[in-house]
Amino acid sequence: MKGETGKRRVGIRALYAADPSRADRLLWGRQADPLTRRGFLRGAGLAAMSAAVGASIPFARFMPGGLIPAALADTPEPFEIEGKEGLIVLNDRPLNLETPAHLLDDPVTPAARLFVRNNGIPPDAAAIDPDRWTLEIAGESCVRPQTFTLAELRSRFEPVTLKLQIECAGNGRSEFYPATSGNQWTTGAVGCPEWTGVRLRDVLEHCGIADDAVYVAYEARDRHLSGDASKQPISRGVPLAKAMEAESLLAFAMNGEPLPPLHGFPLRMVCAGWPASVSGKWVHRVLVRDRVHDGEKMLGQSYRMPCQPVAPGAEVADEDMCIIGSMPVRSLVTYPKSGITHPAGKALEVRGHAWAGDRSVRRLYTSIDFGATWQRARLERPANRLAWQHWKQAIEFPQPGYYEVWARAEDSEGVSQPMVLPGWNPRGYLNNACHRIAVQVA
């Protein structure tokens, strides 16, 4: 590779402009499928690209626009992820993808722009017959355990369509120091699609909820990474009160289409505002528990924060870790993309979204002087409870130079995003530090 091109000074843009296929081949040894112009023909170039992306997330930006940015690094088969253009690949087994902030600009997140977080191996979508998929409602505190087909769920219960934001509890983890273990998300493990399904509470009430019910949990059809069929990759849930909210859904559609395979086809839970891991994908069983659910990734340190604040790097015993509930207030600048040059003397229209777990956002501020002064942006009401809220603001820069636009949301209880990192914790959850973009005014 170096021998072929190393002696010439070639810009990567020029290289791609001249011949994208050749550029792919030169840079990555990559050959796309000649028919679809996608994927990696016989896996060619895949390891090189994965290595570059994995070694350093910045390299993800070098991926050309039309490329399907991920694959299973060690399968001999060509592999592509349909409809995930522009997402950054964090880890490919299990598959995890996040979305750069500027690609989250849509008011309703399209499937192609929604982050993917998997704990196990998704079921084979081609082998799923939605007409034969069943949902069992069971558990110690379910009075009348029973099983529904998807058609029965649709016909017996009122359909509901809501815009609901889901966010990985580890979104922002990459900023913590000392580094914490897990997918090194930056800001993109969040999205707000429109979900259609039935209310979890309607189904649970139909089956009867015993007085001693405490928790509602899911079991799903994804498989453990080790291949051990006796192990579940993840089985989490929420307290009964959260499950009974009008916005907690058993969803079978996203943005008017059946759920995409990576997002839980044919059935998932959506309990917005909590760590997205409670919104189980490929759900086939819902348990009404008489105790706090003890499934995979409920115990130990998973999706838990220190019950009391700790110093960076502290060791925290399992019994001193508490389950995460509502996610904290957070916002993104989705336009413009960080790094632009903006003409002096002209206002810059900045916009984005803000959300606040179970709460709503009441104010959104921006600063162009590193937090010294803040200006209030126009903030819309949510489309419905637990949808993210859109904000925008025309910013005038006093003189040419380097600026950072910082966005800081304040929730309905007056709680704001911090400007530096919030409290360190062993697994690197809940980093809601304000989002920053860089703008050169010239």
Binding site: G6, R13, L15, S56, A73, S181, K337
Partner: protein, 113 residues
């Protein structure tokens, strides 16, 4: 405005590290052990994206052995793996909050699409 191709090819190897093409791992002492033992269940990307000190790498291994069906290592092999990981994937420099990263800054010759 052009990013130099030669720079791109050398990047990721700012410290002169050689990257194994098949796994994405740094080629350094202990590499063979990591390649043999650490790609059975998850991809090597899970390793290469991570930064941790020796004790934290050991904690991760113990956790996988306790809960994820990872097998036990000979002590010499375990030492070699830990030395490799702690040397080649150490924690980043200390900070309360890092600056906006270079690839999101103005004047980047090759901003993301």
């Amino acid at each position: 405005m052009f990013l130099l191709l030669s720079w791109l090819l050398a990047a990721g190897a700012a410290t002169g590290q050689e990257i194994d093409e098949a796994t994405g791992l740094v080629r350094a002492p202990g590499f063979e052990h990591v390649r043999a033992h650490c790609g059975g269940c998850h991809s090597f990307r899970l390793v290469t994206q991570q930064r941790a000190d020796r004790q934290t790498w050991l904690d991760i291994i113990r956790w996988m052995q306790a809960t994820q069906n990872l097998w036990q290592f000979e002590p010499a092999v375990e030492d070699a793996i830990l030395d490799y990981l702690a040397t080649n994937y150490p924690p980043r420099a200390d900070r309360r909050r890092a600056p906006i990263p270079p690839w999101l800054m103005p004047g980047d010759p090759n901003p993301s699409p």
